[in-house]
């Protein structure tokens, strides 16, 4: 269906269901229980899950298929955000023009950077992209302050022109981002017994775009073009010897993944109209690499899982403080309670990087194929006979 094989269509349906039902799936704990701390089903985080999912899917088209490791993808995300916020400032608060412009600008920008960086491969390509991203960051952070507002970040203001919209609403506040009148921050809160579920308009827009992005990624993975990209990954020399020029293919992959990043950046700005230079910093570029590897590079669903995993840690673990810990361990005698809190303390709050790092190390050592491999191993345990699919999947990989 939709030009997809049966397995891929099944995967698309599963992803669609997961994203549509995310408000339920991510809020498994009643809102007044102590475990509510671990609920992730609030609009901001759900939006981040799918937006960074788009970012990682795009990155995976480049890294997973061609093996070109770009360390500068955050630059495209940042450019997309700035483009979107400028659209909000100048044209209208409707998100459609902003998203379209952010994708286009990121595409042009990635064409420029890709054209130069792709003259080299391997580590040199990575360093080139890193250099370009850091240059963009420095530009956004200080040199281009009139355009980017530097470290403070580009924000919308009451006196922006907004040619097709209003500068300020009737009651004197800044208008909010909307899709033909449907406010992006509009949230329907549904209470079911002790559970509380939040359905956000912005989230469903992002989820819809992620599904489209995911569908396109599947089509690219299964297309002859995708096959060429895999050929680049397995042996570029051989490709050249057979008389094929690989660069147009890699450049196309680079631009496509740059546009995905731009879409993610535009969506970030559409959900919360602010663009900061730190979105372009090398740590942000590194984050998407981590997401892809953690989830499983070269797999379809992997990057989305990785993105969700990292964003969950960033937003949930960083908010656990000693006070919360004392609440959990309150049933223990005082001495043991304090000792336990002291042991757990370095891993929560600002120490969430440490927890994430340990998990990352564990995943890379024990599950080199990322979370997807973990899922496959679990699935294999429950399957009656050894799966023939995995063997078939291996045959797809061309011989080295």
């Amino acid at each position: 269906m939709l030009g997809l094989g049966r397995k891929d269509f099944g995967l698309l349906v599963i992803v669609a269901l997961l994203t549509l039902l995310a408000p339920f799936i991510l809020n498994p704990f009643p809102s007044d229980s102590s475990l509510a701390q671990f609920n992730a089903g609030y609009p901001d985080l759900m939006q981040r899950f799918v937006i960074f999912g788009i970012f990682a899917i795009g990155f995976n088209i480049l890294f997973g298929l061609t093996g070109y490791l770009s360390f500068g993808h955050a630059a495209f995300l940042g450019v997309g955000s700035y483009a979107a916020v400028w659209m909000f400032k100048l044209l209208t608060m409707n998100v459609i023009p902003a998203i379209i412009l952010s994708v286009l600008i990121a595409g042009v920008f990635s064409l420029l950077i890709g054209y130069i960086s792709l003259r080299r491969s391997g580590i040199y390509f990575s360093i080139l992209t890193l250099a370009f991203a850091q240059m963009s960051f420095a530009l956004a952070y200080s040199v281009l302050t009139p355009i980017t507002n530097g470290e403070t970040g580009l924000q919308i203001a009451l006196d922006d022109p907004r040619i097709l919209g209003v500068s300020q609403t009737a009651d004197g506040s800044i208008p909010v981002t909307h899709l033909f009148g449907l406010e992006m921050r509009a949230t329907e809160v549904v209470n079911m017994g002790p559970w509380q579920f939040q359905f956000s308009a912005g989230y469903y827009l992002c989820a819809l775009l992620m599904l489209i992005a995911f569908y396109l990624a599947i089509r690219i993975f299964r297309s002859p073009f995708g096959m060429m990209l895999r050929a680049v990954k397995s042996n570029q020399q051989r490709l050249y010897y057979t008389g094929l020029n690989a660069r147009p293919y890699t450049l196309a992959a680079f631009v496509i993944s740059g546009m995905y990043a731009g879409l993610a950046g535009g969506l970030l700005a559409a959900m919360d109209p602010l663009a900061g230079a730190e979105r372009m910093q090398w740590t942000a570029s590194g984050e998407v690499v981590l997401m892809t590897i953690l989830g499983g590079a070269g797999t379809l669903i992997g990057p989305v899982l990785g993105a969700g995993f990292i964003k969950y840690f960033e937003n949930i673990f960083s908010k656990i403080n000693d006070n919360v810990l004392h609440g959990w361990f309150a049933f223990l005698p005082d001495g043991i309670e304090d000792a336990l809190v002291a042991v757990v303390h370095p891993f929560i709050g600002k120490g969430w990087h440490l927890t994430l790092g340990l998990l990352f190390v564990a995943v890379v050592i024990f599950l080199p194929g990322g979370l997807v491999e973990g899922g496959q191993r679990i699935a294999r345990l429950f399957r009656r006979k050894p799966a023939p699919d995995t063997e078939r999947a291996h045959q797809h990989t061309p011989a080295e």
């Binding site: 269906m1 049966r6 269901l17 549509l20 039902l21 007044d32 609920n39 609030y42 609009p43 901001d44 985080l45 981040r48 952070y141 200080s142 302050t145 530097g150 470290e151 403070t152 970040g153 924000q155 203001a157 009451l158 006196d159 300020q168 009651d171 004197g172 506040s173 800044i174 909010v176 921050r185 949230t187 329907e188 809160v189 549904v190 209470n191 079911m192 939040q198 919360d272 602010l274 900061g276 730190e278 979105r279 937003n315 960083s318 908010k319 403080n321 006070n323 709050g349 600002k350």
Partner: protein, 454 residues
């Protein structure tokens, strides 16, 4: 070509999914209609404390968090009550706010606007925070203030010193107790004149974001009014940790004063670099070379160690105020005592302003009789109070800025202990640092109207 195989299992699975999907809209809808965002419904109320736990302002953030915890403890009737006893309003009786026990959530702003907004959004959307406080960077404060305005909750700014916070980026839902760059410059200028004379050439190093820009603008205007000359202003990235390359050209520039418009870790590093380059012993234009740090804090003094000796700057508050300048600054000792008892050292000005903001919010809610942001904002506008350690203070309604005395300090030459690094030079009365709401440095923005959200 697509082949369709209908199996019993497939039909069951599809049926279950379709059923769940169809049942979805029939769930009971219980939308909240209290008229404002996150109206507290149970017997508790949640406040969000969003502070930098990592990045150049992490020390300030940690101290702010301590103060917030202390304030919550006092509001809930724990501890010795701190400044609740000296506060001129007596509405808070240790039973929480409006009888609701105060709970709080914390977040890490990472000193980045983006991360700060994400953290604040999760507090509002997930934890149901009805007020957000904190910040330790004006860039972050401006960004979070904008978010709170959109979301319809009150923002009680913590440590933010940029003119823009209550200037061009002011918002109806945002309130600032802390002083600002203009006030610093106005208080500092006369002291600088008496210390270093009216004929000086200044070289500015400025943190490259909203606070640095307005701080530099303010101090440049104030010193040029004295007759000083500004040689150059160099912008440095907020994330920088090594300033040697910025310090090196200073001595050759013909300047004889270095103004460090830096704060927190930035200032500790740049001052240390400046001292390493021998600027303190240097001579320029036949005068002793001098260093000025317009915005000062005990935490920074502790970080910079003996390098800070003799360097002048300004503060919002100092823990020695009441001991040295008497009754007018009542509240200071009460706060220092309860903070010291709990944590073992005196609080910084960042801690003080956050503690005061929490109390002011609680009191405003109590006086308004509602958590509704619009009612709270009305209660805070043009509110006059005393007993929070700064002397008589006014929350001006026109821009939501507090007006109070400014403390001019300098690093002690021979500190007795590690907490007594700063000596008070003089206190500039509030009148001397007051400006019109439409002052050019603050113009260009508008409060807009209060937004209760929902």
């Amino acid at each position: 070509m697509t082949k369709t195989n209908v199996t019993r299992r497939g039909v069951l699975r599809t049926g279950a999914v379709a059923g769940a999907g169809l049942a979805l809209p029939t769930y009971l809808r219980a939308a909240q209609h209290e008229g404002f965002t996150n109206a507290p419904t149970g017997d508790t109320v949640t406040l969000g404390f969003n502070v930098p736990q990592t990045g150049p302002y992490a020390d300030e953030g940690a101290d702010e968090l301590r103060a917030f915890e202390l304030a919550v403890e006092h509001l809930n009737g724990g501890g010795d009550g701190g400044m609740l006893q000296t506060f001129s309003e007596k509405n808070l009786d240790g039973t929480g706010i409006l009888g609701k026990k105060v709970e709080y959530v914390t977040g890490d702003t990472q000193t980045k606007s983006d991360a700060a907004r994400a953290s604040a959004r999760s507090m509002i959307e997930k934890d149901g925070a009805v007020m957000i406080s904190g910040g330790s960077s004006s860039g972050v404060a401006v960004a979070v203030q904008g978010l709170c305005q959109e979301a319809g909750v009150i923002f009680m700014a913590g440590l933010t010193h940029s003119n823009d916070t209550t200037g061009k980026d002011k918002k109806a839902n945002g309130f600032r107790h802390f002083f600002n760059a203009y006030m610093s410059a106005a208080a500092l200028a006369p002291v600088l004149e008496s210390l270093y004379g009216a004929d000086r050439k200044a070289y500015h190093l400025t943190a490259d974001y909203t606070w640095g820009w307005t701080q530099q603008e303010s101090i440049q205007a104030a010193t040029e009014a004295l007759g000083w000359e500004t040689v150059e202003n160099v912008l440095t990235p907020l994330a920088a940790t090594d300033f040697s390359s910025y310090i090196a050209p200073v001595l050759q520039s013909g300047a004889d004063v270095l103004v460090l418009n830096h704060y927190g870790g930035n200032m500790v590093n740049s001052l240390t670099n400046a001292v390493q380059f021998g600027l303190r012993e240097a001579q320029a234009n036949g005068k002793d070379f001098q260093i000025v740090v317009p915005l000062y804090s005990e935490l920074m003094a502790r970080g910079a160690g003996e390098n800070i000796a003799g360097i002048p700057g300004s503060q919002n508050w100092d823990w020695k105020l009441e001991n040295q300048l008497g009754e007018r600054y009542t509240g200071t000792n009460a706060f220092v005592q309860s903070f010291g008892e709990k944590y073992g050292f005196p609080p910084s000005q960042a801690a003080h302003t956050c503690y005061a903001q929490t109390l002011l919010y609680a009191d405003a809610v109590t006086r308004a009789g509602s958590f509704n942001p619009c009612a709270v904002a009305e209660a805070l506008q043009d509110f006059e109070f005393d007993g929070l350690g700064n002397g008589p203070t006014t929350y001006r309604g026109a821009d939501h800025q507090c007006f109070k005395d400014v403390v001019v300090v300098r690093g002690k030459e021979n500190p007795e202990n590690e907490f007594d690094l700063v000596e008070i030079v003089e206190v500039t009365p509030a009148d001397a640092v007051t400006y019109e709401p439409d002052h050019p440095m603050f113009s260009g923005g508008s409060l807009g109207s209060c937004n209760p959200g929902a």
